[in-house]
Amino acid sequence: MRTCHPLSIAIAAAALGIGLPAGAKTFRWSSASDIPTWDIHSQNNALGNGVHAAVYESLFYYNKKFELEPVLATGYRQLSATQLRITLRQGVRFHDGAVFDADDAKFSLERAMAKTSNYGVYTQGIDHIVKVDDYTIDVFTKGPNPVLLRQMTELRMMDKDWAEKNKSAEPKDIKTKEENFAHRNANGTGPFMLKSWDQDVRLVLVRNPNWWGKLEGNVTEIVYTPIKSEATRIAALLSGEVDMVLDPSPADLARLRASSALKVVDGAENRTIFFGMDQFRDELPGSNVKGRNPLKDLRVRKALYQAIDIQTLNRVTMRGLSQPTGALISPQVNGWTRRADARWPYDVTAARRLLAEAGYPQGFEVDFACPNNRYINDEEICQSVAAMWAKIGVKAKLRTLPLVTYFPMIQRYEGSIYMLGWGVPTFDALYTLQSLVRSVGAQGDGNYNVGRYSNPQMDALVERIKAEVDQKTRNQLIEQALLLSHQDVSHIPLHNQVIPWAMKRNIDLYHRADNRIDMRAVKVN
């Protein structure tokens, strides 16, 4: 809180390399788009959250092995089912020199809970925060919350005085006409400091010489340049203008792997791609079946499932860049089990028989919607699957849309069969179950259950998972829910995305399932 050295000195020191190990190491990377804002509690954007993490720290965060680790906290104790006591790290300073303490922690958590914040999914269940002493806070929850610590990994800490002084005590509001200071400026406690940000052009971070922790990597400067055109992005990597590309296109991979100057690091993303089906309407628009909805029939859903040749999809369409799955979550997510991951086998004969039993021996026509610029090979996947369904007589009338029109469309429940990919920022299955298979309701329940699947048994399971604090029991409940979704064919899971990162050979970093670079560990050799 007390300001000791002005920010400018710290930045100048870093820029001049004072107090840093010999030799400035710059890490230059690129991907298609820029982060939306520097305001850490405004827009919940995956790329933004990843970049923010280098500058702003949270109380808890994931380590290399994806275990929760205290960062700006040093420990916690569950005082009661609804009261969590967190002790804060002492001796931590913000980039402007101010000391981090309980006031800042309380302020930051409350800022993320503000109406103008989009971080509601990470603050849900938190009732209020109480400062106990300068380095202790109590978090009170509305009920038992087994994922509170995981939620906190995305709630980063901002200096109270800095925010108030700069009229940024509230997160950037997309609705007002005012620009927010925290939108373009940053003052965190992290290992890197924001030096300049020219949105859509260049983002420069420099090492924080006064960081409390010990940096594993050796980078002194990070330069991020968004490059929209895929070909240009790869050209920039090949010509050596950038060191790393986060999102190389699948078509370029063979060439990149063959290059002696480059390497490609593959890793599974915790994002599962699946099809959803309208199980609510009594008649599907655009279908030739009148008076009833074939997708309400379990046998039809199962037939569609079993008609998909997932191995061919993996080998041909995805060029191996996918992990076929039978669950709605990936193995990195808490609650995943091998049992829940089993798929209904690929079996065209069985699929035909199921269709005939359901009363559609000749198949039927159905609307089939897919995005064409959101997931890896999304359009190609849908084309392949439409061809597979044609073999059992189901004429899927494919329409592909860019994401800006696709998502509003499925949110209006207008897709009969639709594709969706679901990532899990909390790394806990509740996030998926609550959004995808819980009946549509309030408080985020079923907010992406856009096929409106509804099963009271499932709702009861999800409610129990929300409140169960015993880890073992809870994980059993999650498995039950996943198996129920499988039995019901609430969705047709396809695969978990595998994300390749392309970089020069002299870059040393580790792949993370949330598609983020942990800047603390990046080495330029």
């Binding site: 827009q43 919940n44 989009n118 340049t225 240009t232 050209a235 010509s239 029109t405 949110q411 992406y448």
Partner: protein, 327 residues
């Protein structure tokens, strides 16, 4: 003169309104920014609320009227994607596009005119034929392909020129320029070459055709009869008369250079207005798209007006004919 200008201005206003209207109609189909703004976790209530707050639930005429009213005052609101004033975004991006467009226009003139003259004078010889073939390529190859080919050759294979961005820029007041640093110049080469190829070939073909036409006229024959040197005939008399339509076309094409820089800017990640527009389209950032389209329409209208006025001043026949009709 004055009625002519007034008439033209009235037409310009109608054009602007039409563009604004069509643009605005298109926005009904580009999608909904609300999903992008709120992220995947938002509840339906939050989405409805935001849609109402942004005025997106209003009927079309109301939205349009509000938009035109604000646009008159130069107020396009806040970018949904960047959270900053659209006007300041455009002011920031405009220099990059303008520098690129001017460099491309300049290159097109400097190379296009001599090449056209050469192709006309040495019709049939090998080099002239080669130039004509090249110009066909230039007219028919799509811009993005030229850009990517240039990147492949000069950035990836030979590593002599940068593949993206504007490089180091220097700010002079609100204007950022890349023309004052060697790095900026290096970054400018590939994009401006890419952007100029179409214009260059167009000018070259135009000059050649006009030149051939002029060379057949009587006064060239008389000039030769007077015993003037080839040089004086070709460059003193023929070329001068050729240039009138060339100047008109170049003026008009400047507008398209600015507007169609979109593709070049996307390929080279050139931080100009075109790139801003493309990014806005992907996000359904309506205020930015609207402002961009209106600005481009305005540029075209202004250039057209200026060209018309120039015509009026330059070509005496126009005035005489009008006078004759009037009486």
């Amino acid at each position: 003169m004055l009625p002519f200008i007034l008439r033209r201005l009235a037409q310009a206003v109608i054009v602007m309104l039409t563009v604004a209207f069509i643009a605005f109609m298109l926005f009904q189909y580009v999608g909904d920014p609300v999903t992008n703004l709120l992220g995947q976790d938002a509840t339906p209530e939050q989405r409805t609320q935001l849609r109402a707050d942004l005025g997106l639930d209003q009927p079309f005429p109301v939205q349009f009227a509000a938009f035109v009213g604000n646009a008159m005052r130069g107020e396009f609101g806040l970018s949904l994607r960047q959270g900053r004033k659209v006007s300041s975004l455009i002011v920031e991006r405009f220099p990059a596009t303008l520098e690129l467009a001017f460099c491309a226009a300049l290159l097109a003139l400097i190379f296009g005119i001599p090449m056209g003259v050469y192709a006309a004078l040495r019709r049939g010889n090998f080099l002239a034929q080669a130039l004509m073939t090249f110009s066909l390529l230039g007219v028919s190859l799509p811009t993005f392909l030229i850009g990517i080919l240039l990147i492949l050759v000069f950035a990836v294979t030979f590593k002599v020129l940068p593949s993206f961005g504007r490089g180091e820029t220097i700010a002079i007041g609100a204007w950022t320029t890349g023309l004052l640093t060697p790095d900026g110049w290096k970054h400018l080469i590939l994009p401006s070459v890419t952007l100029c190829i179409f214009q260059l070939t167009l000018i070259m073909r135009l000059v050649r055709a006009e030149m051939l036409e002029v060379l057949r006229t009587d006064y060239i024959k008389f000039a030769r009869a007077r015993g003037l040197s080839d040089r004086s005939v070709y460059f003193g008399h023929a070329l001068k008369n050729t240039l009138v339509p060339v100047i008109t076309i170049t003026g008009l094409q400047l507008g398209s250079l600015i507007a169609f820089a979109i593709i070049t800017e996307t390929v080279f990640q050139w931080p100009g207005m075109g790139l801003l527009f493309i990014q806005a389209v992907q996000f359904a950032d309506i205020p930015v798209m609207a402002a961009y389209l209106c600005l481009i329409a305005l540029i075209f209208v202004v250039i057209n007006l200026a060209v018309d006025l120039l015509y009026f001043a330059v070509d005496p026949r126009l005035r005489i004919e009008r006078a004759a009709v009037g009486h």
